[in-house]
Protein backbone atom coordinates (compact mmCIF):
# COMPACT_ATOMS: atom_id res chain seq x y z
CA UNK A 1 0.00 0.00 0.00
CA UNK A 2 2.79 2.36 0.97
CA UNK A 3 4.38 1.98 -2.42
CA UNK A 4 1.09 2.77 -4.12
CA UNK A 5 0.51 5.79 -1.91
CA UNK A 6 4.00 7.10 -2.56
CA UNK A 7 3.42 6.53 -6.23
CA UNK A 8 0.17 8.52 -6.31
CA UNK A 9 1.83 11.27 -4.32
CA UNK A 10 4.45 11.54 -7.04
CA UNK A 11 1.97 11.07 -9.85
CA UNK A 12 0.72 14.60 -9.15
CA UNK A 13 3.73 16.06 -10.92
CA UNK A 14 2.85 14.14 -14.06
CA UNK A 15 0.67 14.96 -17.04
CA UNK A 16 -0.53 12.14 -19.28
CA UNK A 17 0.85 8.65 -18.96
CA UNK A 18 4.32 7.87 -17.65
CA UNK A 19 6.14 4.73 -16.51
CA UNK A 20 6.67 4.61 -12.76
CA UNK A 21 10.45 4.81 -12.98
CA UNK A 22 10.30 7.98 -15.03
CA UNK A 23 8.43 10.17 -12.58
CA UNK A 24 11.44 11.20 -10.54
CA UNK A 25 14.32 12.74 -12.39
CA UNK A 26 17.66 11.23 -11.51
CA UNK A 27 20.13 13.39 -13.37
CA UNK A 28 19.80 16.57 -11.41
CA UNK A 29 21.19 20.07 -11.69
CA UNK A 30 24.67 18.71 -10.92
CA UNK A 31 24.63 16.91 -14.25
CA UNK A 32 23.67 20.23 -15.84
CA UNK A 33 26.66 21.93 -14.26
CA UNK A 34 29.05 19.26 -15.48
CA UNK A 35 28.75 19.72 -19.26
CA UNK A 36 28.55 23.47 -18.71
CA UNK A 37 31.92 23.46 -16.97
CA UNK A 38 33.63 21.08 -19.41
CA UNK A 39 32.29 23.26 -22.21
CA UNK A 40 33.99 26.30 -20.69
CA UNK A 41 37.24 24.33 -20.50
CA UNK A 42 37.17 23.22 -24.11
CA UNK A 43 36.08 26.63 -25.35
CA UNK A 44 38.72 28.55 -23.42
CA UNK A 45 41.37 26.21 -24.74
CA UNK A 46 40.24 26.66 -28.32
CA UNK A 47 40.54 30.41 -27.82
CA UNK A 48 44.08 29.95 -26.53
CA UNK A 49 44.96 27.81 -29.52
CA UNK A 50 43.88 30.60 -31.85
CA UNK A 51 46.91 32.51 -30.62
CA UNK A 52 49.46 29.72 -30.79
CA UNK A 53 48.41 27.69 -33.79
CA UNK A 54 46.52 30.15 -35.94
CA UNK A 55 48.70 33.07 -35.00
CA UNK A 56 45.95 35.54 -34.25
CA UNK A 57 48.24 38.26 -32.86
CA UNK A 58 45.49 40.48 -31.48
CA UNK A 59 44.45 37.83 -29.01
CA UNK A 60 47.89 37.47 -27.43
CA UNK A 61 46.81 39.31 -24.22
CA UNK A 62 44.19 36.64 -23.53
CA UNK A 63 46.38 33.60 -24.17
CA UNK A 64 47.59 32.89 -20.65
CA UNK A 65 44.32 33.97 -19.09
CA UNK A 66 42.49 31.49 -21.31
CA UNK A 67 44.84 28.67 -20.32
CA UNK A 68 44.47 29.38 -16.61
CA UNK A 69 40.70 29.64 -16.96
CA UNK A 70 40.62 26.28 -18.69
CA UNK A 71 42.70 24.76 -15.90
CA UNK A 72 40.63 26.29 -13.10
CA UNK A 73 37.44 24.88 -14.57
CA UNK A 74 38.94 21.55 -15.57
CA UNK A 75 40.03 20.86 -12.01
CA UNK A 76 36.41 21.16 -10.88
CA UNK A 77 34.80 19.52 -13.93
CA UNK A 78 34.58 15.96 -12.55
CA UNK A 79 33.37 17.08 -9.13
CA UNK A 80 29.67 17.40 -9.98
CA UNK A 81 29.70 13.87 -11.37
CA UNK A 82 31.55 12.50 -8.37
CA UNK A 83 29.20 14.21 -5.93
CA UNK A 84 26.23 12.91 -7.87
CA UNK A 85 27.52 9.33 -7.83
CA UNK A 86 28.67 9.54 -4.22
CA UNK A 87 32.03 8.52 -2.76
CA UNK A 88 34.21 10.96 -4.72
CA UNK A 89 37.26 9.69 -2.84
CA UNK A 90 36.98 6.38 -4.64
CA UNK A 91 36.74 7.77 -8.13
CA UNK A 92 40.46 7.36 -8.90
CA UNK A 93 39.93 3.59 -8.82
CA UNK A 94 38.32 4.03 -12.19
CA UNK A 95 41.83 4.50 -13.58
CA UNK A 96 43.21 1.48 -11.83
CA UNK A 97 40.53 -0.95 -12.94
CA UNK A 98 39.61 0.30 -16.40
CA UNK A 99 36.25 -0.78 -17.78
CA UNK A 100 36.57 -0.64 -21.55
CA UNK A 101 32.94 -1.26 -22.36
CA UNK A 102 31.65 1.73 -20.40
CA UNK A 103 31.55 5.01 -22.30
CA UNK A 104 31.35 6.92 -19.05
CA UNK A 105 34.34 5.15 -17.53
CA UNK A 106 36.43 5.79 -20.62
CA UNK A 107 35.64 9.45 -20.30
CA UNK A 108 37.81 9.36 -17.20
CA UNK A 109 40.77 8.64 -19.43
CA UNK A 110 39.88 11.37 -21.85
CA UNK A 111 39.78 13.71 -18.90
CA UNK A 112 43.10 12.43 -17.56
CA UNK A 113 44.75 12.82 -20.93
CA UNK A 114 43.46 16.32 -21.32
CA UNK A 115 44.50 17.40 -17.84
CA UNK A 116 47.93 15.81 -17.69
CA UNK A 117 49.16 15.71 -21.24
CA UNK A 118 47.55 18.80 -22.67
CA UNK A 119 46.69 21.50 -20.21
CA UNK A 120 49.19 21.07 -17.38
CA UNK A 121 52.06 20.44 -19.78
CA UNK A 122 51.24 23.42 -21.92
CA UNK A 123 50.95 25.72 -18.92
CA UNK A 124 54.14 24.34 -17.45
CA UNK A 125 56.21 24.94 -20.56
CA UNK A 126 54.60 28.32 -21.11
CA UNK A 127 55.38 29.53 -17.59
CA UNK A 128 58.61 27.67 -16.87
CA UNK A 129 60.99 30.52 -17.61
CA UNK A 130 58.85 33.01 -15.73
CA UNK A 131 58.48 30.73 -12.77
CA UNK A 132 62.26 30.49 -12.48
CA UNK A 133 62.64 34.25 -12.72
CA UNK A 134 59.78 34.94 -10.27
CA UNK A 135 61.00 32.43 -7.73
CA UNK A 136 64.23 34.40 -7.66
CA UNK A 137 62.34 37.59 -6.87
CA UNK A 138 59.78 36.19 -4.44
CA UNK A 139 60.22 35.24 -0.81
CA UNK A 140 58.74 32.76 1.64
CA UNK A 141 56.02 30.33 0.65
CA UNK A 142 55.53 31.79 -2.78
CA UNK A 143 59.21 31.30 -3.59
CA UNK A 144 59.02 27.63 -2.70
CA UNK A 145 55.69 27.11 -4.38
CA UNK A 146 57.14 28.45 -7.60
CA UNK A 147 60.30 26.38 -7.22
CA UNK A 148 58.33 23.19 -6.73
CA UNK A 149 56.00 24.05 -9.58
CA UNK A 150 58.94 24.57 -11.91
CA UNK A 151 60.26 21.18 -10.75
CA UNK A 152 63.44 22.96 -9.63
CA UNK A 153 64.40 23.53 -13.19
CA UNK A 154 66.93 26.32 -13.62
CA UNK A 155 67.81 26.60 -17.27
CA UNK A 156 66.72 29.95 -18.71
CA UNK A 157 69.13 29.91 -21.63
CA UNK A 158 67.82 30.99 -25.00
CA UNK A 159 68.04 27.46 -26.30
CA UNK A 160 65.94 26.11 -23.46
CA UNK A 161 63.31 28.84 -23.88
CA UNK A 162 63.16 28.13 -27.60
CA UNK A 163 62.51 24.49 -26.78
CA UNK A 164 59.69 25.54 -24.46
CA UNK A 165 58.11 27.60 -27.21
CA UNK A 166 58.31 24.79 -29.72
CA UNK A 167 56.85 22.31 -27.27
CA UNK A 168 53.97 24.64 -26.42
CA UNK A 169 53.10 24.85 -30.08
CA UNK A 170 53.20 21.08 -30.55
CA UNK A 171 51.05 20.55 -27.45
CA UNK A 172 48.50 23.07 -28.72
CA UNK A 173 48.28 21.21 -32.00
CA UNK A 174 47.61 18.01 -30.08
CA UNK A 175 45.39 20.00 -27.76
CA UNK A 176 42.85 21.07 -30.38
CA UNK A 177 41.65 17.57 -31.24
CA UNK A 178 41.88 16.74 -27.55
CA UNK A 179 39.64 19.65 -26.63
CA UNK A 180 37.23 18.55 -29.34
CA UNK A 181 37.39 15.05 -27.95
CA UNK A 182 36.85 16.24 -24.39
CA UNK A 183 33.66 18.05 -25.07
CA UNK A 184 32.56 16.06 -28.08
CA UNK A 185 32.69 13.08 -25.76
CA UNK A 186 30.28 14.72 -23.36
CA UNK A 187 27.92 15.19 -26.28
CA UNK A 188 28.58 11.62 -27.36
CA UNK A 189 27.50 10.26 -23.99
CA UNK A 190 24.12 11.89 -24.47
CA UNK A 191 23.91 11.41 -28.22
CA UNK A 192 24.53 7.68 -27.99
CA UNK A 193 21.56 6.96 -25.76
CA UNK A 194 19.39 5.23 -28.32
CA UNK A 195 16.28 5.01 -26.20
CA UNK A 196 16.00 8.75 -25.71
CA UNK A 197 14.91 10.63 -28.84
CA UNK A 198 15.71 14.02 -27.32
CA UNK A 199 19.34 12.98 -26.92
CA UNK A 200 19.91 10.32 -29.52
CA UNK A 201 21.37 12.27 -32.42
CA UNK A 202 24.72 12.18 -34.19
CA UNK A 203 24.58 15.97 -34.13
CA UNK A 204 24.90 15.97 -30.37
CA UNK A 205 28.73 16.03 -30.14
CA UNK A 206 28.87 18.79 -32.75
CA UNK A 207 26.21 20.88 -31.07
CA UNK A 208 28.00 20.46 -27.76
CA UNK A 209 31.30 21.41 -29.29
CA UNK A 210 30.19 24.65 -30.83
CA UNK A 211 28.22 25.73 -27.81
CA UNK A 212 31.37 24.98 -25.84
CA UNK A 213 33.43 27.25 -28.05
CA UNK A 214 30.83 29.98 -27.68
CA UNK A 215 30.73 29.75 -23.91
CA UNK A 216 34.52 29.48 -23.60
CA UNK A 217 35.23 32.59 -25.65
CA UNK A 218 32.52 34.47 -23.78
CA UNK A 219 33.85 33.55 -20.35
CA UNK A 220 37.41 34.54 -21.22
CA UNK A 221 36.09 37.81 -22.63
CA UNK A 222 34.21 38.51 -19.41
CA UNK A 223 37.18 37.58 -17.26
CA UNK A 224 39.48 39.71 -19.37
CA UNK A 225 37.22 42.71 -18.91
CA UNK A 226 37.07 42.15 -15.16
CA UNK A 227 40.61 41.09 -14.31
CA UNK A 228 42.62 43.59 -16.33
CA UNK A 229 41.09 46.70 -14.71
CA UNK A 230 41.36 45.00 -11.31
CA UNK A 231 45.08 44.63 -11.87
CA UNK A 232 45.34 48.27 -12.81
CA UNK A 233 45.67 47.67 -16.54
CA UNK A 234 43.87 49.04 -19.53
CA UNK A 235 41.65 46.91 -21.70
CA UNK A 236 43.13 46.36 -25.14
CA UNK A 237 40.25 47.32 -27.41
CA UNK A 238 41.76 45.71 -30.49
CA UNK A 239 41.94 42.42 -28.62
CA UNK A 240 38.43 42.79 -27.26
CA UNK A 241 36.98 43.56 -30.69
CA UNK A 242 38.75 40.58 -32.19
CA UNK A 243 37.50 38.31 -29.44
CA UNK A 244 33.99 39.62 -29.93
CA UNK A 245 34.16 38.97 -33.65
CA UNK A 246 35.24 35.37 -33.06
CA UNK A 247 32.42 35.09 -30.57
CA UNK A 248 30.02 36.49 -33.14
CA UNK A 249 30.97 33.89 -35.74
CA UNK A 250 30.97 31.09 -33.19
CA UNK A 251 27.43 32.01 -32.12
CA UNK A 252 26.30 32.05 -35.74
CA UNK A 253 27.76 28.61 -36.43
CA UNK A 254 26.36 27.26 -33.18
CA UNK A 255 22.95 28.70 -33.94
CA UNK A 256 22.90 27.33 -37.50
CA UNK A 257 23.84 23.86 -36.33
CA UNK A 258 21.13 23.88 -33.74
CA UNK A 259 18.59 25.08 -36.27
CA UNK A 260 19.76 22.34 -38.63
CA UNK A 261 19.27 19.76 -35.90
CA UNK A 262 15.83 21.20 -35.25
CA UNK A 263 14.74 21.15 -38.89
CA UNK A 264 16.11 17.66 -39.28
CA UNK A 265 14.04 16.46 -36.36
CA UNK A 266 10.93 18.19 -37.68
CA UNK A 267 11.34 16.76 -41.15
CA UNK A 268 12.11 13.29 -39.89
CA UNK A 269 9.01 13.54 -37.68
CA UNK A 270 9.68 10.32 -35.87
CA UNK A 271 6.99 9.02 -33.58
CA UNK A 272 8.48 11.06 -30.75
CA UNK A 273 7.91 14.41 -32.43
CA UNK A 274 4.54 15.06 -30.79
CA UNK A 275 5.76 14.62 -27.25
CA UNK A 276 8.93 16.56 -27.99
CA UNK A 277 6.97 19.51 -29.29
CA UNK A 278 4.72 19.32 -26.26
CA UNK A 279 7.88 19.34 -24.17
CA UNK A 280 9.20 22.42 -25.90
CA UNK A 281 5.88 24.20 -25.79
CA UNK A 282 5.24 23.61 -22.11
CA UNK A 283 7.99 22.46 -19.78
CA UNK A 284 10.94 23.91 -21.66
CA UNK A 285 9.32 27.02 -23.05
CA UNK A 286 11.03 29.34 -20.62
CA UNK A 287 14.46 27.74 -20.64
CA UNK A 288 14.60 26.89 -24.34
CA UNK A 289 12.65 29.46 -26.28
CA UNK A 290 13.11 32.45 -24.00
CA UNK A 291 16.44 31.91 -22.27
CA UNK A 292 18.42 29.78 -24.70
CA UNK A 293 17.26 31.08 -28.06
CA UNK A 294 15.95 34.61 -27.54
CA UNK A 295 18.07 35.94 -24.68
CA UNK A 296 21.07 33.66 -25.05
CA UNK A 297 21.52 33.77 -28.82
CA UNK A 298 19.39 36.12 -30.86
CA UNK A 299 19.68 39.10 -28.54
CA UNK A 300 23.50 38.96 -28.26
CA UNK A 301 23.71 38.39 -32.03
CA UNK A 302 21.56 41.45 -32.60
CA UNK A 303 23.59 43.54 -30.19
CA UNK A 304 26.82 42.50 -31.87
CA UNK A 305 25.44 43.38 -35.26
CA UNK A 306 24.48 46.80 -33.92
CA UNK A 307 27.98 47.27 -32.51
CA UNK A 308 29.50 46.47 -35.89
CA UNK A 309 27.12 48.45 -38.03
CA UNK A 310 27.07 51.65 -36.00
CA UNK A 311 30.74 51.61 -35.01
CA UNK A 312 29.86 52.52 -31.45
CA UNK A 313 32.14 54.36 -29.06
CA UNK A 314 34.66 52.46 -26.94
CA UNK A 315 32.89 52.76 -23.61
CA UNK A 316 29.52 51.76 -25.03
CA UNK A 317 31.13 48.86 -26.84
CA UNK A 318 32.70 47.58 -23.65
CA UNK A 319 29.42 47.75 -21.83
CA UNK A 320 27.56 45.96 -24.61
CA UNK A 321 30.23 43.27 -24.95
CA UNK A 322 29.96 42.66 -21.26
CA UNK A 323 26.19 42.32 -21.41
CA UNK A 324 26.50 39.99 -24.42
CA UNK A 325 28.99 37.84 -22.54
CA UNK A 326 26.64 37.48 -19.59
CA UNK A 327 23.64 36.74 -21.79
CA UNK A 328 25.59 34.08 -23.66
CA UNK A 329 26.62 32.39 -20.42
CA UNK A 330 22.99 32.36 -19.40
CA UNK A 331 22.03 30.95 -22.78
CA UNK A 332 24.61 28.18 -22.76
CA UNK A 333 23.73 27.20 -19.22
CA UNK A 334 20.13 26.91 -20.40
CA UNK A 335 21.31 24.82 -23.34
CA UNK A 336 22.84 22.33 -20.92
CA UNK A 337 19.73 22.46 -18.78
CA UNK A 338 17.49 21.77 -21.74
CA UNK A 339 19.54 18.80 -22.85
CA UNK A 340 20.02 17.18 -19.47
CA UNK A 341 16.75 17.97 -17.73
CA UNK A 342 14.67 18.13 -20.92
CA UNK A 343 15.73 14.62 -21.88
CA UNK A 344 14.25 13.25 -18.69
CA UNK A 345 10.98 15.17 -18.62
CA UNK A 346 9.06 13.04 -21.09
CA UNK A 347 7.97 9.43 -20.90
CA UNK A 348 9.48 6.83 -23.23
CA UNK A 349 5.88 5.87 -23.88
CA UNK A 350 5.70 9.29 -25.60
CA UNK A 351 2.44 9.91 -23.79
CA UNK A 352 3.28 12.00 -20.77
CA UNK A 353 5.52 14.54 -19.09
CA UNK A 354 6.90 14.84 -15.61
CA UNK A 355 8.26 17.77 -13.63
CA UNK A 356 11.69 18.43 -12.21
CA UNK A 357 11.65 19.55 -8.61
CA UNK A 358 15.00 20.97 -7.68
CA UNK A 359 16.29 20.55 -4.14
CA UNK A 360 17.73 23.55 -2.41
CA UNK A 361 19.97 22.15 0.32
CA UNK A 362 20.77 18.50 -0.44
CA UNK A 363 23.85 17.21 -2.20
CA UNK A 364 21.99 17.36 -5.53
CA UNK A 365 20.63 20.78 -4.72
CA UNK A 366 20.87 24.30 -5.98
CA UNK A 367 23.33 25.49 -3.33
CA UNK A 368 25.87 22.79 -4.17
CA UNK A 369 25.52 23.64 -7.85
CA UNK A 370 26.12 27.31 -7.15
CA UNK A 371 29.13 26.44 -5.01
CA UNK A 372 30.52 24.29 -7.83
CA UNK A 373 30.20 27.23 -10.18
CA UNK A 374 31.97 29.56 -7.76
CA UNK A 375 34.94 27.34 -6.81
CA UNK A 376 36.60 27.60 -10.25
CA UNK A 377 36.76 31.37 -9.86
CA UNK A 378 38.45 30.99 -6.48
CA UNK A 379 40.97 28.60 -8.01
CA UNK A 380 41.46 31.03 -10.86
CA UNK A 381 42.15 33.86 -8.41
CA UNK A 382 44.88 31.77 -6.76
CA UNK A 383 46.34 30.81 -10.12
CA UNK A 384 46.32 34.40 -11.33
CA UNK A 385 48.16 35.40 -8.21
CA UNK A 386 50.78 32.72 -8.51
CA UNK A 387 51.16 32.87 -12.28
CA UNK A 388 50.22 36.38 -13.43
CA UNK A 389 49.21 36.29 -17.09
CA UNK A 390 50.48 39.78 -17.84
CA UNK A 391 53.74 41.54 -17.06
CA UNK A 392 53.62 45.05 -15.63
CA UNK A 393 54.67 46.60 -18.95
CA UNK A 394 51.97 44.74 -20.82
CA UNK A 395 49.27 45.99 -18.48
CA UNK A 396 50.38 49.57 -18.83
CA UNK A 397 50.60 49.44 -22.59
CA UNK A 398 47.87 51.33 -24.38
CA UNK A 399 46.68 50.78 -27.89
Amino acid sequence: MEAVQHFTELAKQVVGFIYPNEIEIHWSILIVVYPYITGLVAGAFILASLVKVFNVKELQPTYRLALLTALAFLLIAPLPLQLHLGRPERSFEMFLTPQLSSAMAMFGFVYLWYLMVVLLLEIWFEYRRDMIVWSGEATGVKKWALKILSLFSTDVSEKAVAFDKKTVKIITVIGIPSAFLLHGYVGFIFGSIKANPWWSSVMMPVVFLFSAIVSGIAIVMLLYMIVVPLRGGKIDMQCLDKMASFLFYAVIVDFSIEVLDFIHRLYESEESIKILSALVETKLFMSLVILQILLGMLLPLGVMVVIRVFKLQEEVRKLLYFVCGLLIQLGIFSTRWNVVIGGQLFSKSFRGLTTYKMELMGIEGLLVAVALLIIPFVILAVLLNLLPPWKKEELARTT
Partner: protein
Protein backbone atom coordinates in the same frame (compact mmCIF):
# COMPACT_ATOMS: atom_id res chain seq x y z
CA UNK B 1 70.50 6.76 -23.60
CA UNK B 2 71.95 9.13 -26.14
CA UNK B 3 68.45 10.37 -26.76
CA UNK B 4 67.96 11.22 -23.11
CA UNK B 5 71.21 13.17 -23.05
CA UNK B 6 70.09 15.23 -25.98
CA UNK B 7 66.85 16.23 -24.24
CA UNK B 8 66.90 19.64 -22.57
CA UNK B 9 67.04 19.65 -18.81
CA UNK B 10 63.41 20.65 -18.28
CA UNK B 11 62.02 17.95 -20.57
CA UNK B 12 63.92 15.38 -18.59
CA UNK B 13 62.39 16.63 -15.36
CA UNK B 14 58.88 16.43 -16.69
CA UNK B 15 59.57 13.00 -18.11
CA UNK B 16 60.72 11.77 -14.71
CA UNK B 17 57.49 13.06 -13.13
CA UNK B 18 55.38 11.23 -15.68
CA UNK B 19 57.36 8.02 -15.34
CA UNK B 20 56.99 8.13 -11.57
CA UNK B 21 53.22 8.69 -11.84
CA UNK B 22 52.77 5.92 -14.38
CA UNK B 23 54.83 3.35 -12.49
CA UNK B 24 53.10 4.38 -9.29
CA UNK B 25 49.75 3.63 -10.85
CA UNK B 26 50.92 0.32 -12.28
CA UNK B 27 52.40 -0.72 -8.95
CA UNK B 28 49.21 0.12 -7.10
CA UNK B 29 47.23 -1.81 -9.64
CA UNK B 30 49.57 -4.77 -9.41
CA UNK B 31 50.04 -5.04 -5.66
CA UNK B 32 47.37 -3.05 -3.84
CA UNK B 33 44.20 -3.73 -5.80
CA UNK B 34 42.91 -7.20 -4.88
CA UNK B 35 42.75 -9.65 -7.75
CA UNK B 36 38.99 -10.06 -7.67
CA UNK B 37 38.52 -6.33 -8.24
CA UNK B 38 40.31 -6.62 -11.55
CA UNK B 39 38.29 -9.61 -12.74
CA UNK B 40 35.16 -8.54 -14.61
CA UNK B 41 33.36 -11.87 -14.25
CA UNK B 42 34.00 -11.93 -10.53
CA UNK B 43 32.67 -8.41 -10.18
CA UNK B 44 29.54 -9.30 -12.04
CA UNK B 45 28.92 -12.42 -9.97
CA UNK B 46 29.44 -10.43 -6.82
CA UNK B 47 26.84 -7.92 -7.98
CA UNK B 48 24.39 -10.68 -8.74
CA UNK B 49 24.94 -12.25 -5.34
CA UNK B 50 24.45 -8.92 -3.67
CA UNK B 51 21.13 -8.47 -5.46
CA UNK B 52 20.05 -12.01 -4.69
CA UNK B 53 20.81 -11.49 -1.00
CA UNK B 54 18.35 -8.65 -0.75
CA UNK B 55 15.30 -9.37 1.32
CA UNK B 56 12.40 -10.68 -0.77
CA UNK B 57 9.23 -8.71 -0.11
CA UNK B 58 6.85 -10.22 -2.63
CA UNK B 59 6.01 -13.91 -2.45
CA UNK B 60 4.54 -14.22 -5.94
CA UNK B 61 1.05 -15.34 -6.93
CA UNK B 62 1.84 -19.06 -6.99
CA UNK B 63 2.63 -19.13 -3.27
CA UNK B 64 -0.67 -17.71 -2.02
CA UNK B 65 -2.63 -20.40 -3.80
CA UNK B 66 -1.12 -23.13 -1.60
CA UNK B 67 -3.16 -21.95 1.38
CA UNK B 68 -5.94 -19.85 -0.16
CA UNK B 69 -7.53 -22.18 -2.65
CA UNK B 70 -10.97 -20.71 -2.05
CA UNK B 71 -10.04 -17.17 -3.10
CA UNK B 72 -8.05 -18.49 -5.99
CA UNK B 73 -11.04 -20.50 -7.14
CA UNK B 74 -13.29 -17.43 -7.05
CA UNK B 75 -10.77 -15.24 -8.76
CA UNK B 76 -9.94 -17.72 -11.52
CA UNK B 77 -13.25 -17.35 -13.32
CA UNK B 78 -13.73 -13.60 -12.79
CA UNK B 79 -12.65 -10.35 -14.38
CA UNK B 80 -9.73 -10.05 -11.98
CA UNK B 81 -8.22 -13.37 -13.03
CA UNK B 82 -5.09 -11.68 -14.40
CA UNK B 83 -4.34 -9.68 -11.26
CA UNK B 84 -1.78 -10.97 -8.83
CA UNK B 85 -2.95 -11.28 -5.24
CA UNK B 86 -0.19 -8.98 -4.02
CA UNK B 87 -1.18 -6.13 -6.33
CA UNK B 88 -4.09 -5.63 -3.91
CA UNK B 89 -2.80 -7.19 -0.70
CA UNK B 90 0.65 -5.57 -0.90
CA UNK B 91 3.95 -7.35 -0.43
CA UNK B 92 3.18 -10.45 1.64
CA UNK B 93 6.32 -12.57 1.86
CA UNK B 94 6.36 -12.07 5.62
CA UNK B 95 2.76 -13.31 5.79
CA UNK B 96 3.54 -16.37 3.71
CA UNK B 97 6.42 -17.17 6.08
CA UNK B 98 4.38 -16.78 9.28
CA UNK B 99 0.68 -16.60 8.32
CA UNK B 100 -0.81 -16.18 11.79
CA UNK B 101 1.58 -13.51 13.04
CA UNK B 102 1.63 -11.19 10.05
CA UNK B 103 -1.61 -10.29 8.32
CA UNK B 104 -1.59 -8.68 4.89
CA UNK B 105 -3.68 -5.54 4.35
CA UNK B 106 -6.87 -5.62 2.29
CA UNK B 107 -7.91 -2.51 0.36
CA UNK B 108 -11.52 -2.08 1.46
CA UNK B 109 -11.87 1.62 0.67
CA UNK B 110 -12.98 3.19 -2.60
CA UNK B 111 -9.73 5.01 -3.28
CA UNK B 112 -7.77 1.87 -4.01
CA UNK B 113 -9.87 0.41 -6.84
CA UNK B 114 -9.79 3.83 -8.45
CA UNK B 115 -6.04 3.63 -9.07
CA UNK B 116 -6.86 1.20 -11.84
CA UNK B 117 -10.44 2.04 -12.75
CA UNK B 118 -10.66 5.83 -12.99
CA UNK B 119 -10.66 7.27 -16.49
CA UNK B 120 -7.26 7.77 -18.08
CA UNK B 121 -6.73 8.32 -21.79
CA UNK B 122 -3.79 5.98 -21.90
CA UNK B 123 -5.58 2.89 -20.61
CA UNK B 124 -5.92 0.19 -23.26
CA UNK B 125 -9.07 0.07 -25.36
CA UNK B 126 -11.76 -2.05 -23.73
CA UNK B 127 -10.57 -1.47 -20.18
CA UNK B 128 -13.47 -0.83 -17.82
CA UNK B 129 -13.30 2.70 -16.41
CA UNK B 130 -15.66 4.65 -14.21
CA UNK B 131 -15.96 8.17 -12.97
CA UNK B 132 -15.58 7.72 -9.19
CA UNK B 133 -17.49 10.93 -8.48
CA UNK B 134 -20.65 9.73 -10.19
CA UNK B 135 -20.43 5.93 -10.02
CA UNK B 136 -22.46 5.05 -6.91
CA UNK B 137 -20.61 7.54 -4.74
CA UNK B 138 -19.61 7.14 -1.11
CA UNK B 139 -20.31 3.40 -0.75
CA UNK B 140 -17.21 1.19 -0.72
CA UNK B 141 -16.85 -0.62 -4.04
CA UNK B 142 -16.81 -4.01 -2.32
CA UNK B 143 -20.40 -3.62 -1.11
CA UNK B 144 -21.47 -4.25 -4.71
CA UNK B 145 -18.44 -5.89 -6.33
CA UNK B 146 -16.69 -8.92 -4.87
CA UNK B 147 -13.03 -7.91 -5.14
CA UNK B 148 -12.05 -11.43 -6.16
CA UNK B 149 -14.74 -11.59 -8.80
CA UNK B 150 -16.08 -8.09 -9.45
CA UNK B 151 -18.91 -9.06 -11.79
CA UNK B 152 -21.39 -6.17 -11.89
CA UNK B 153 -24.98 -7.06 -11.10
CA UNK B 154 -26.00 -5.96 -14.58
CA UNK B 155 -23.94 -5.47 -17.75
CA UNK B 156 -22.59 -1.96 -18.35
CA UNK B 157 -25.14 0.30 -19.98
CA UNK B 158 -22.93 2.26 -22.36
CA UNK B 159 -19.98 1.43 -24.56
CA UNK B 160 -18.15 4.24 -22.74
CA UNK B 161 -17.81 1.98 -19.69
CA UNK B 162 -14.98 0.20 -21.47
CA UNK B 163 -14.17 2.42 -24.48
CA UNK B 164 -13.94 5.67 -22.57
CA UNK B 165 -11.29 7.18 -24.78
CA UNK B 166 -13.09 6.40 -28.06
CA UNK B 167 -16.35 7.73 -26.67
CA UNK B 168 -14.68 10.98 -25.63
CA UNK B 169 -12.92 11.58 -28.95
CA UNK B 170 -16.03 10.71 -30.92
CA UNK B 171 -18.04 13.17 -28.84
CA UNK B 172 -15.83 15.98 -30.16
CA UNK B 173 -15.81 14.83 -33.81
CA UNK B 174 -18.14 15.31 -36.79
CA UNK B 175 -19.69 11.95 -36.00
CA UNK B 176 -20.77 12.98 -32.51
CA UNK B 177 -24.39 12.33 -33.42
CA UNK B 178 -23.83 8.77 -34.70
CA UNK B 179 -24.28 5.98 -32.16
CA UNK B 180 -21.48 3.44 -31.96
CA UNK B 181 -23.88 0.78 -33.07
CA UNK B 182 -24.45 2.49 -36.43
CA UNK B 183 -21.03 1.30 -37.44
CA UNK B 184 -20.52 -1.63 -35.07
CA UNK B 185 -23.24 -4.21 -34.77
CA UNK B 186 -22.77 -5.25 -31.17
CA UNK B 187 -24.16 -8.43 -29.62
CA UNK B 188 -25.33 -7.91 -26.04
CA UNK B 189 -22.86 -10.58 -24.90
CA UNK B 190 -19.95 -8.37 -25.87
CA UNK B 191 -20.61 -6.43 -22.69
CA UNK B 192 -20.07 -9.42 -20.47
CA UNK B 193 -17.54 -11.44 -22.46
CA UNK B 194 -15.91 -8.74 -24.53
CA UNK B 195 -13.01 -10.79 -25.75
CA UNK B 196 -14.90 -13.83 -26.89
CA UNK B 197 -17.82 -12.05 -28.51
CA UNK B 198 -16.72 -9.08 -30.60
CA UNK B 199 -18.78 -6.52 -32.54
CA UNK B 200 -18.45 -6.08 -36.29
CA UNK B 201 -16.28 -3.40 -37.82
CA UNK B 202 -16.76 -1.64 -41.15
CA UNK B 203 -14.66 -3.44 -43.74
CA UNK B 204 -15.50 -1.81 -47.08
CA UNK B 205 -15.40 1.67 -48.59
CA UNK B 206 -19.03 1.31 -49.51
CA UNK B 207 -19.95 1.25 -45.85
CA UNK B 208 -19.13 4.93 -45.49
CA UNK B 209 -20.58 5.48 -48.93
CA UNK B 210 -24.04 4.72 -47.53
CA UNK B 211 -24.06 8.25 -46.22
CA UNK B 212 -21.22 9.98 -48.06
CA UNK B 213 -21.40 9.02 -51.75
CA UNK B 214 -22.50 11.73 -54.14
CA UNK B 215 -26.25 11.80 -54.68
CA UNK B 216 -27.00 9.51 -51.74
CA UNK B 217 -26.09 11.81 -48.89
CA UNK B 218 -28.83 13.17 -46.67
CA UNK B 219 -29.13 16.92 -46.34
CA UNK B 220 -26.14 18.49 -44.65
CA UNK B 221 -23.94 15.41 -45.05
CA UNK B 222 -20.82 16.23 -47.06
CA UNK B 223 -20.37 13.92 -50.03
CA UNK B 224 -17.48 12.75 -52.15
CA UNK B 225 -17.08 11.03 -55.51
CA UNK B 226 -16.62 7.44 -54.36
CA UNK B 227 -14.91 6.46 -57.58
CA UNK B 228 -12.04 8.90 -57.32
CA UNK B 229 -11.88 10.13 -53.76
CA UNK B 230 -9.17 8.31 -51.83
CA UNK B 231 -8.56 5.91 -54.74
CA UNK B 232 -8.55 2.27 -53.71
CA UNK B 233 -7.85 2.78 -50.02
CA UNK B 234 -10.40 2.20 -47.30
CA UNK B 235 -11.63 5.50 -45.92
CA UNK B 236 -10.18 5.02 -42.41
CA UNK B 237 -6.69 4.79 -43.75
CA UNK B 238 -6.93 8.57 -43.99
CA UNK B 239 -9.93 9.50 -41.81
CA UNK B 240 -9.79 8.14 -38.29
CA UNK B 241 -13.48 7.40 -37.86
CA UNK B 242 -13.59 8.31 -34.17
CA UNK B 243 -11.59 11.50 -34.48
CA UNK B 244 -12.71 13.35 -37.54
CA UNK B 245 -11.31 16.70 -36.47
CA UNK B 246 -8.08 16.38 -38.46
CA UNK B 247 -9.19 15.22 -41.87
Amino acid sequence: MKFLQKLPEQALRILVVFVILATGMLLVRQFVIPADMKDMTLIQTATMEREADKEAKYAGAAVCVQCHEKQQEIKRGGYHRDLSCESCHDAAQKHADSPTEVKPVSPRKRDYCVYCHSYNASRPTGFPQINPDTHNPRKPCITCHNPHNPKPTQPPRSCAACHAQIERTKAASYHAQLACTVCHTTPEKHKTEPRTVTPTKPDKREFCGKCHSEGKGAKGVPTVDMATHGEKYVCWQCHYPHMLGGI
